[in-house]
Amino acid sequence: MAPEHKAQKLPTIHQLFGYTIGFSHLLDEIAIGVAVIGLDRKIVAMNQMLKLLTGFSQKESFGVPCRHILRSSLCVQNCPAFQINGKSGPKCIETDLISKDRQLIPIRITFALLKTNSGKIVGYLETVEDLRPLKKRESGSFEGYSFEHIVGKSPEMGKIFQILPSLAQSESSVLITGETGTGKDMVAETIHHTSDRAKGPFVKVNCGALPETLLESELFGHCKGAFTGAIENKAGRFQLAHNGTLYLTEIGDLPFSLQVKLLTFLDDKVIVPLGTTKEIVSDVRIIAATHRNLDQMVAEKRFRKDLMFRLNVIRLHLPPLRERQGDVRLLLDYFLNKISAQLGRKTPELSKRALKILLAYSYPGNVRELRNFIEYTVNICTDDKITPRHLPAYLTDPSQAAVVEVAPPATAGIAAESEKQRLARTGPDQPWPEIEKQMIIEALVKTGGRKSRAADFLGWSRSTLWRKMKQFGIRG
């Protein structure tokens, strides 16, 4: 195989420093495997690290087709040299190789073009990362009731945990919906980090945070002179997210004009920066999130139906904390341990009364609110035990509850009324049966004593209402 290559010596670098340095020395200092490959896909140079991975030395690899040295699944099934061109950027793919000592090694390959100053393609640069330590860490970091950093043991979260791994392996767009604080950002990051694009960038853009004109330039980039103040070329977030994931949060706030541009990207995978007609190919996976009701926005013609359909390939709805049965207690313990460890403090214990208050609360701000409670509490509490006096005042002091914003009720009726309101009226120390009794009386008063309507109001069945009325001695 190309015996003339065998006699070749590796070049030296003259102009980088005052002295001449060997190219192979430079390559050998790089901590990941590197191969320089010719246009004929034969190895021109490789470093020591790649030798350790593959088992083939630089000398014996010289002039050999790279597929025989690297022996990755990718080489055989989907050689990146055939997919990459002058327009596209580097390709980053997770795969595996079989080393000379017959080990199957998980690797991540980044394949880039080597060009002359005039842009002529002269070869390829391949970097190979050994993923064994990472995989070992991943398998060792398993925590019960969690996926990456998302914690939960409710059936609702179980369904999410089940779907996330397969979702991460897909290339489809994902639309994450859910109330504020339910963990949309965290889920988006998790999808990215567990996908084949994990090595690529995760770029987050808040569509509601910037005015329309700025957002367009931010997303798609601009050319020098495109508008007043555009003093240089600027790459947009789509370009920055090449080979990675672009997370568009608050997609419901994306201006109508930009919805068309996003639609074009989802169709053609190309973007056109402001002030130019040149199309740029961007290999980006889109994850969008919103707390708004996009279906309703489509009906009101505030969001494009076709964009909704394209984003809505996979929809993931994150349940609010009040619907995650059993998760509040788990999350309380999780954040108590985590935040105490961060602050270098001994984890305090929750007193029975404090726990009762925290469990009775409805968390309109969801997990974020719960985390904030714990962070506040751990900072305030200097004792070993957290008591109600360590909790935020509006949880324990009804007079302060009135100033707290109340989340919109999930369903009509008293049953969906915010716990904050209820606590404000009744006080946290009032036993639950008494609160329940009061709720029943209020419901009966509101519905003029009609039990079936009162049951609807409370979100109970008629028999539950009847049983509880009997229990509390309320005569209908």
Binding site: H68, R71, V76, Q103
Partner: protein, 110 residues
């Protein structure tokens, strides 16, 4: 003199770089120092190391000449008394020629 039956997983005309990803195998015999002209190429329904191993045992193969092979399959074939010459890089013809001449070693780059 008994003929030696050889199996070579293929990738185009080369020895397949990966034993587990080959979708074609070449089966050929060697008598003395001569490779028989009767060659058989078996197309596999899908790439599978298990299937190549099974083919090697059912066909009564004596020698497997291949590229990268996982330790499990290597040991299995050895256990089945099949000689494995692995990490061979190059064309299948050159590999067979070298094998017939008694020169083919594991890790040979042709």
């Amino acid at each position: 003199m008994n003929a030696t039956k050889i199996l070579v997983p293929l990738h185009e005309d080369d020895v397949a770089p990966r034993f587990d990803l080959a979708t074609e195998v070449l089966i050929v015999s060697k008598k003395g120092k001569t490779i028989s002209k009767n060659k058989r190429i078996v197309a596999l329904p899908r790439a599978s190391a298990e299937q190549v191993c099974q083919l090697a045992t059912t066909e009564g193969i004596d020698v497997v000449i291949c590229g990268g092979i996982e330790e499990t399959y290597y040991q299995y074939l050895i256990w089945k008394r099949i000689q494995v010459i692995d990490s061979v890089a190059g064309s299948s013809q050159s590999a067979l020629k070298k094998f017939a001449a008694g020169d083919l070693q594991p890790g040979a780059i042709l």
